[in-house]
Symmetry: C3
Subunit: 312 residues, 3 copies
């Protein structure tokens, strides 16, 4: 049986560090947070979270900041990375050793793979990986899971498509790992060039049914969930190749017309034009609700890691 004690002081580096029971528990607490928002308002009074983002990120930063503040905690934001610290040449290790004097928890986003792990090794306080390199984004995967559970009332038994850049999109890696804890069928749909990383595929293939495709069309009628990610122009040497791909990975009203009535469309945001604006007003579009579920999920995980729910 999972209990709040199991989370106290833990780092959140990879979604792989959490088993199904733990993921379910985090989601149960997110439900609880929503039901008792007022009661949670002062929960983290006297606790401080340091936000160390070495990559620009409005959305993830705001989400963590809102989560901490709504729980009554303090936030300290190191600010834009291009300035002070980096100019003066301080190592990440030293920055962590400085910052942990002010905080009870660190949220780190860093362009380099392995940075979160390194930080966690150095820090005496828990470190949450807020996205590192092209690798992982564990709290995004938790909120994606939670969005599915909220919108579909279950995760087991679903057929889920992940569309777009599965090679560099760190959210897709973490989500695939997370879903492999459940009884789902996963369709990985991407251009040849941007196929799911081999190590992720290897891990999940042994656990759930996975199918790789280059086109979404044939599986649209089966899908309960379509998770869309952006394909970046910079990934292609040949622009004509990019333009061809771009069109065929765009979700429109026409795409929806081929899907189940109650299928949901998700996206980690920001969206550029990979989902047509006309889709926004359909009940299938849940990508803005995802932001709200993300807030609840992060309130849950922060509270658990800081031990605020494991009192007598």
């Amino acid at each position: 049986m999972v209990s709040p004690k199991d989370f106290v002081g833990r780092d959140v580096l990879s979604i792989l560090d959490f088993n199904r029971e733990e993921l379910d528990y985090i989601m149960d607490v997110a439900d609880e947070v929503e039901r008792n928002m007022d009661a949670y308002r002062g929960l983290l009074s006297g606790k401080t979270m340091a936000i160390l983002f070495f990559e620009p990120s409005t959305r993830t930063r705001l989400s963590f900041e809102a989560a901490m503040k709504k729980l009554g905690g303090l936030t300290l934001d190191m600010g834009e990375p291009t300035r002070a610290s980096i100019e003066k040449g301080e190592t990440l290790t030293d920055t962590i050793r400085v910052v942990q004097n002010y905080a009870d928890l660190i949220v780190l986003r860093h362009p380099k793979e392995g940075a979160a792990k390194l930080a966690a090794e150095v820090a005496d306080i828990p470190v949450i990986n807020g996205g590192s390199g092209a690798e992982e984004h564990p709290t995004q995967a938790m909120l994606d899971l939670y969005t599915i559970r909220r919108c579909k009332k279950r995760i087991d038994g679903l057929r889920i498509g992940i569309l777009g850049d599965l090679k560099y999109g760190r959210t897709t890696h973490s989500l695939a790992y997370a879903l492999s804890n459940y009884d789902v069928k996963l369709y990985l749909v991407s251009p040849e060039l941007l196929r799911m990383r081999r190590e992720v595929l290897r891990h999940i293939s042994g656990r759930i049914e996975v199918q790789e495709l280059e086109s979404i069309d044939q599986v649209l009628p089966e899908l309960d969930v379509l998770y869309v990610t952006r394909i970046q122009k910079e990934r292609f040497v040949d622009e004509s190749e990019y333009l061809k791909v771009k069109g065929s990975y765009r979700v429109t009203i026409d795409t929806l017309s081929k899907m189940k009535k109650d299928a949901i469309i998700m996206h980690p945001l920001p969206r550029v034009d990979e989902i047509a604006i006309e889709v926004d007003s359909t009940p299938n579009a849940v990508y803005f609700k995802q932001v709200y579920y993300g807030l609840l999920t992060r309130m849950s995980i922060i509270s658990l890691v800081l031990g605020a729910l494991s009192g007598k």
Copy 2:
């Protein structure tokens, strides 16, 4: 009769959305806030304001942030616009839909006219226009009105000069609209090139006595209030033209000597050299007090819009 209920959930997009009774009410609440600062300290506990500034602005941002925090509310600042969001190409509409998941109120500053209106249409929560394009700056007009009321004990019956760039200066537009609710005589003093926008002039001319002038000299002895704004070099094609204009729109001790003893000098700040520093220490200079009255005004409007004053 105006009551706090009339403000709950309202957007603050244009000063034209508020009638005289409402403006007076906002100022009455500002008085009340000052008298009971301690009682207001926890008023907005549990409420969150998102600050979305797509244009640099230290003063307006700090004023809103201070107002919200001093009422016990939380603030979430999206930070500098040049980074994350814009780089990734997200639309304003999407940003609003994301941010409203974290907040009860949005304050938006944007370089494009119409941005605040667009945001308000999309958002499920109230939007306060913190300045949009060269158009309007409604809360600045409210604080300007309030400063006049505080310093002159009334607004009706005053003779008020607005000096400088009346074409591009958004504060002058909002202020002229605001003053047209009162029984004032307005002198609009500007170079030919920077005359008050025609649509503003048309609106206010039907309501109050207005006179346009190119020189302030002849009306100085009549004025109760002189509102000074900056004339920017960039507005002129010919630098010699700019230099000529600049000198004659500068307020000095000599200017004061031609005015009533109790006339007040206002300025939206930042000031460069359009008011001589020697004026600062006179009792006529109220432009730094204006900042404090601005804090009270914004505490008032935020409390009203969030419904914190409309309880039983």
Copy 3:
């Protein structure tokens, strides 16, 4: 006898403004803050500190922000200086007059010497110098003193070496002044080019025993404290000169082997490579603890200046 009343409303511009009894008192309060952290949590509720940093500084900014927030106070950060204010050409004097409307205390960092003094003259509220030019950094000196007292249980009777750039390093000036209140022997070790400023040397020489050296080697066995600072390449015209110097001012395990067993190594941070990483894990390395002692020291000084400890 020093009492909390002696600090209320005072500016903190130079370490020279504080005598030994006052410095001891600030440190006593820092001890007290640590012992009763929970009791201090709401001490500054309703108070606001404005952070005006015209130079990038992650560490000092975070330390002040953490100190204020952990005492229950509000912070308002003007943000990066390159933007709004400076673009619009506002003077420091005007910025101070604006900001003091929102705050009870200003912390200022500025590249120009004399800026903090100017700000204090203009402001009606206390100003803390968070570092100005190459001049002074008084709260850093206080935390350095406190670190020594915490780690060595006393200050009197110690032999202390300050190593590195004693000409441009503002922390070394303030520290030397601060130490001259105690019965210490001071070794000032630097390249000829970067010798301690003459006015500092003149001041402290009359009060304590001081010796200037170019090499640390001969005094290593005597030292109780070694305070290391960075030597910047830009100070040297000739790169070969820099490289020579750099090597001989680097602290390594070998350096430690020549020192007393219980000597401590301090550094104001950020460190680049002037202390070898291998030193970090020795009990002699206290430079990360210094950060924590800095938090306590700043909590102390802020509380004192704001009069929160001088109640009935």
